[in-house]
Symmetry: D2
Subunit: 91 residues, 4 copies
Amino acid sequence: MDEETRADAIHRLKSIAGHVNGIVRMLEEERYCIDVIKQIQAAQTALARVSESILDSHLRTCVTTAIQGDDPAERERMLKEVVEVFRYQDK
Amino acid sequence: MDEETRADAIHRLKSIAGHVNGIVRMLEEERYCIDVIKQIQAAQTALARVSESILDSHLRTCVTTAIQGDDPAERERMLKEVVEVFRYQDK
Amino acid sequence: MDEETRADAIHRLKSIAGHVNGIVRMLEEERYCIDVIKQIQAAQTALARVSESILDSHLRTCVTTAIQGDDPAERERMLKEVVEVFRYQDK
Amino acid sequence: MDEETRADAIHRLKSIAGHVNGIVRMLEEERYCIDVIKQIQAAQTALARVSESILDSHLRTCVTTAIQGDDPAERERMLKEVVEVFRYQDK
């Protein structure tokens, strides 16, 4: 992962943790269920955006290096992992 | 939402916020991209479980009350909201 | 499910089956992988829209009847099923 | 995409089209809404499995070739496409 992506992911995840703590407060204040669910869904989407950004960087750095390298087992392992995270998303 | 569901959701969301902060630390320690993505996906799933639990309680309390009540507009509004959150999940 | 929703769902599912057969032809013509994947994803979204529409009608008919009825076990069963299909969507 | 993956995808998509036509018959026979929704969700999952398999093959063939090749624009385009289909899955 490149440094810009890492810094951006850290920034976004800190903000998502804050968002989730905000949803805790919504529950403590007995806010309406559907409003709470919508905020939880927004946090899920924000997490998915961070995954995407990390995957994008991973493909451009580690995966590209492995594919250009001369270790077929390493290349195989990398591609398998990408398919696995793709599978998880569409479960 | 009933009190047990609310308390449980608060507990789980606090733990998810902690999990997300743990992912920030993984990034700061330059842990492997795919391991980070898998943890983000686990946090997404944990959030989805909280939504489900709140929806379950919402159906048994607010929606049931609205459907048994005599305000058709209120009933309509409630059912619309449930379909909306369902749609969001399968986007 | 009301008759209008049923007729609409039949119409849309027939069209989706045709779409899927069209994707078979894309593969037979050796079309580009990513174009095939995008068409498969479009078919998934189209199926999700049909589910939503059926769920919407189900809530307004069967679930509303069960909630207004005097059989708590039946009501319980109905609400459980709705939560189950919601859970499946966000897996 | 390699030939084995293509043949397998064609086989599976034909079976999914048959499944969707079977769901049309369920609707014509006025089967229970939730049973219909569950079959639609099963068809969505089956489609997702085909996408995954095509993506897996795409990474091993076209993407690997592009990354090993000497056209940075082509490589860039390929990686962008993979991230796009990943984004679609987690919408």
